[in-house]
Symmetry: C2
C-alpha cells in the first residue's frame, strides 16, 4: 500500500525542506542575529507587519520556496534575543549546545512521563536534579522541570499546602482555615497569580516591606515578616508559605535567606526560595554566599523546603523546582491513571515519574541544560556567572563616570537600575515637575532605540520611583564594547530631551 | 575588548557544532526514525542505560567530537515516536513543516508576552486563534496556547470559576459555597488534577456515568448528569463547571455535546469541551458532526463556553484553549506587572497579551501550527483527519477477519480498543480464571515487542474490563502495510501464550 498521501508527509521532500530551512535558520536567526553590525530588531507597526507577513490561513498549501521565504521573513521581523545588544529581558544570548539540545528534543518529540517512551530523559532528568540538589546543599530530596518560573512557584505553593493540609487535595479549601502567604513587596507577580489560581486569593498574600535599597542587614524585612505573621494569625489565618526571592525581577536583590529560614523554622512554615532569576549563583564559589542559608535545611520532615532554580543563563522557558522532601511531590499530584501508569509493567515502575506533574504530556526540558553542562562543565557554568558579575561591575563603574547617569541602587546581581537624566533636567532635582519630566525620558529613549534597532532595554517605575532603566548583563556573546556602546547610545538618544 | 570567554560561546565554533549536530539529528532522529526497516526503540534496562549513556555531570567540558557522539547516542537510545509503527501515545509521526517551526521557535528564543519582543508571534497567535474559533462556529471570543491539555483544562476551570464568583481571585474559596465539577467517568484524569490544584478538591468532581459502549443515544449520560447536578445542589454545593469530552483518552469516544449544552444552559453552568484528543475533527466536513452543538453557543455573556483544541495531529505538547467570551481570560488572570506591561509604551498596548496567562515567560507555540497550515492548507489538514478515520476503518475490518481479535467497542474516532485472545484461551470465556489469564496477555506481548523493537502500543484495564490494547492511528507516515504488520506481529508475539 502507498504511504498516506497529503502534502508534506513524504519523507524525502520533508527532509529536503527541513535541511534547507535549517540553513535559513542558522543564517538569519543565529549567525546574523548575533552580529553586532546587524539590528537587534526591525520595528514595524502592527498594521504594517500584518500586511508584510500575510498571516491569514487559507484552504490551500504553498510551495517549498514560498515556505522558505516565510521562514526567512519570520526571522527577519522577529526580535533578535540572541543579539549582544539585547538587554530587554531576563534572557539573552545564545548557547549553541543548549540550542542543539532543544533541536534534538523537538526532533525526538516525546513526553517525559514514562521510562517506556523517554528512557534516556527520565534518567537524565534524575541526574540533573540530583546534581543541582547537591549544589544547593541537600543530600536528598526531589524535583521537577516546569514550564517556567511562575508555574514552578505554583507547584511549590501547592505542595506546601498539601504538606500542611493534605485534605485540601480531596476536599478543597472549604475544610481548612484561611491560608496566608508571605512574600516581599518586590517579589515576582507570580506569587499573586499563584494564590489566585490555587483558590487562596491575592488578598491572602501578605507583602513584606523590603529594606531601603536592600541593605545587607535586612533588619526591616525580618521585623516586618514576623509582624505580618503575627498579624495574619490574629486575623484567624494560618501562615503556611514564606517565599524568599533570590534575585528580584527588577533590582536583582537577594532576600536574607538565613533570617527568613529562622523565622520559618520557628513558625513551622514552609520556606520556598524563588531563585528563578538568581539561582545560577549556586554554580559560583565566589557568589554563592548570596543564597547562604539554603544548605541548612536538612530536616525534610519537619521543615521541608523548595528551591526554584531558573534561568541558569540561556535556558529560557524552563525552570527547575527542587524539594528537600522526597515523596511529597508525587503524593500531592498523583492521580494514578491506569492507561498511562500501568502497575504491571516489566520494568521498575518508579521510573514512571509523570504523576509528579500537574501536566500529562510534559516536554523534555532536561536535555538542553544537560548538553550545555557536558559541553562546558560546572566550571564553565561558574565562569559565566563570574564573568557576568564582573561585567556588571565594569558597567556600573563606567556609568558612574558619566554625567547624567544615576544608579537607583547598588547592584547585588547582574541587574543595573539607573536613570538617565538629560542635560535639560540636570541640577533641577528640586523643580516641582522634575519627577514628572524624568518619568517621560525612558519611554522616549526606548521608542527611539527600538525604531532604530540599535539595542533593547527595559524600563519601569517602582515603589514611587519614576521610570528607570533596568540593564541586565548575562549574554555570553556580550563584551565590554557592547556595554560602552550601550552608554554612548543612551546619551545619543536622550541628550536632546 | 574581547568577547566574554567561556567554552562554547565563540560564534564560529558554536555555529559549526550546531551544523554538524543538525546533520546527526536529521539522520538519526528523523531519517532513520521514520524508516520501517529500523527499530522503533532500542530497549535497555535502566541500569544498563545509565552506564551506556554516562549521564553524570562533572566539572569539565568535553570535546566537539565527544558531544556529537552524545547527540547520536541520545537519539539511538530514545524511542522513535516519529516511526510509522509507534502507536503508544496520542502523538506519533513527524510533520516536517511543524518541526521546522519548532526549530525556528527555539532559535529565536523569545517569549510570547509582549508585542515588543514577539511582534510576529503576537499577531500570528491572534490569527490562528481567530481562525480556529471560526471553525468551531464562534464569531468572536478569545483564546490562548497552553503547555498541554491538562493545563488548558485548569485554565478553563479557573476562568469558569471567576465568571461565577469573581471574588475568588482576591478572597479565595473561603467566601464562596462549595463548588462542584461534572465530568464523565471516562474523561481525562486532568479533571481531578485541576480540581485538586485549584483548591476545589477531587471529591467535588462528580463523575457522570457513560452509556454502554458510548451509544449515540447517550440517554444514560444525560439522565445521570441531571441527577448528579440535583444531587450536588441538595448537598449544598454549587455546580459551576461541566466538562464534555470530545475524544476520550482510551476509547476515543465523544460525549453528547448538544445534550450537555442543553443541561448546562438550563442550569446556568459553564460548559467546557475537552477536545484535547478529538479536536482535530473541526477540520473535517465529514467528521465534524461529532462535535455538533458547539456552534450553538453564541451568548458569551449568559453562557460562556470554552473549547480546548488539542493535538491536531503531530502537534505535541501544545494545546489551544478557546473562549466564547472576549475579556474573561484577561480579567481572571491579570496582575498588571509594571515592569513588563508598562502603560506608557509607544504602540497599541492591547497587543501585550501576556497577562492573560498564568505564566510569565510563555513559549511561542503558534508557529509550528501556523507553518504546517501554510504548507498544506486547511484542506490538507482535513485530508489527514479523513485519512486517519479511513485507515481506522480499514484496521478494524482487518482485525475482525482474524481469529482471536475482539474489539472492546466500535470506534468513533481513531482509537481501536481490542483484546488479543491467544489460542490457549479461545472458547474458554466461561472458565473461572479466563479474565485473570487474559489480563496477563497484553503486558507480555508489550514486553516482547519493546524488547524486540518492532513496534509500540499501549494497553490498560478500564471499568472492570481487563487489560486490552489501545491502538491509535494518526501518524502521517502510516500506511496499510504498517497496520497489517501490526496485526501479524501481535499474533507472532502472542500465539504461544
Amino acid at each position: 500500500g502507498a504511504r498516506m498521501k497529503g502534502a508534506g508527509s513524504k519523507s524525502s521532500e520533508g527532509e529536503l525542506f527541513l535541511s534547507e530551512a535549517f540553513k535559513v535558520i542558522l543564517e538569519e536567526a543565529v549567525h546574523k542575529a548575533t552580529d553586532v553590525k546587524e539590528k537587534v530588531c526591525e520595528w514595524k507597526d502592527p498594521e504594517e507587519l500584518r500586511v508584510l507577513m500575510d498571516l491569514e490561513l487559507g484552504d490551500h498549501g504553498e510551495s517549498h520556496q514560498q515556505l522558505l521565504q516565510r521562514v526567512r521573513d519570520i526571522a527577519r521581523y522577529s526580535v533578535k534575543t540572541n543579539h549582544p545588544r539585547f538587554f530587554n529581558q531576563l534572557f539573552a544570548g545564545v548557547d549553541y549546545h543548549s540550542l542543539t539540545g532543544r533541536f534534538l528534543t523537538e526532533a525526538l518529540n516525546t513526553s517525559q512521563y514514562t521510562y517506556e517512551v523517554a528512557p534516556v530523559f527520565v534518567l537524565m532528568e534524575d541526574v540533573v536534579l540530583r546534581k543541582l540538589r547537591s549544589l544547593v546543599g541537600w543530600s536528598e530530596g526531589d524535583g521537577i522541570f516546569c514550564p517556567g518560573g511562575s508555574v514552578s512557584n505554583m507547584y511549590a505553593m501547592n505542595v506546601a499546602r498539601y504538606w500542611a493540609f493534605p485534605q485540601v487535595k480531596t476536599q478543597g479549601l472549604w475544610t481548612v482555615p484561611r491560608l496566608a502567604v508571605f512574600t516581599s513587596q518586590e517579589s515576582h507577580y507570580s506569587m499573586k497569580k499563584s494564590a489566585a489560581f490555587l483558590g487562596i486569593g491575592t488578598e491572602n498574600v501578605y507583602h513584606v516591606k523590603v529594606d531601603e535599597r536592600y541593605s545587607s542587614l535586612h533588619k526591616a524585612f525580618a521585623e516586618d515578616l514576623e509582624a505580618k505573621i503575627v498579624h495574619a494569625k490574629s486575623q484567624g489565618a494560618v501562615p503556611f508559605f514564606v517565599n524568599a526571592t533570590a534575585g528580584t525581577t527588577v533590582q536583582g536583590a537577594f532576600d536574607p535567606l538565613d533570617r527568613i529560614a529562622d523565622i520559618s523554622e520557628r513558625n513551622g512554615i514552609w520556606m520556598h526560595v524563588d531563585a528563578a532569576w538568581g539561582g545560577s549563583v549556586v554554580f559560583s564559589k565566589k557568589h554563592k554566599h548570596l543564597i547562604a542559608g539554603m544548605e541548612r535545611y536538612l530536616d525534610p520532615i519537619y521543615n521541608p523546603n523548595s528551591y526554584e532554580v531558573g534561568t541558569l543563563y540561556f535556558f529560557g522557558n524552563s525552570h527547575i523546582l527542587l524539594f528537600s522532601h522526597q515523596n511529597l511531590l508525587m503524593h500531592c499530584h498523583c492521580a494514578n491513571a491506569t492507561y498511562l501508569f500501568q502497575q504491571d509493567k516489566f520494568y521498575d515502575m518508579s521510573l514512571d515519574t509523570g504523576d509528579k506533574s500537574i501536566q500529562c504530556g510534559r516536554k523534555v526540558d532536561c536535555l538542553k541544560l544537560w548538553l550545555m553542562w557536558k559541553a562546558i562543565g560546572a566550571q564553565g557554568l561558574a565562569n559565566r556567572v563570574d564573568i557576568a558579575f564582573a561585567s556588571t561591575r565594569y558597567f556600573v563603574e563606567e556609568l558612574k563616570k558619566r554625567e547624567g547617569f544615576q544608579v537607583v541602587s547598588e547592584p547585588q546581581f547582574v541587574n543595573v537600575c539607573f536613570w538617565f537624566i538629560p542635560p535639560s533636567l540636570r541640577g533641577k532635582e528640586n523643580s516641582p515637575d522634575y519627577q514628572e519630566k524624568l518619568a517621560k525620558v525612558a519611554p522616549v529613549i526606548k521608542e527611539r532605540m527600538v525604531k532604530k534597532g540599535s539595542m533593547m532595554v527595559g524600563y519601569q517605575p517602582l515603589d514611587g520611583r519614576v521610570n528607570f532603566f533596568r540593564m541586565v548583563i548575562l549574554s555570553p556573546q556580550l563584551n565590554h564594547s557592547d556595554l560602552d556602546f550601550f552608554l554612548d547610545e543612551v546619551e545619543r538618544l536622550g541628550n536632546d530631551l
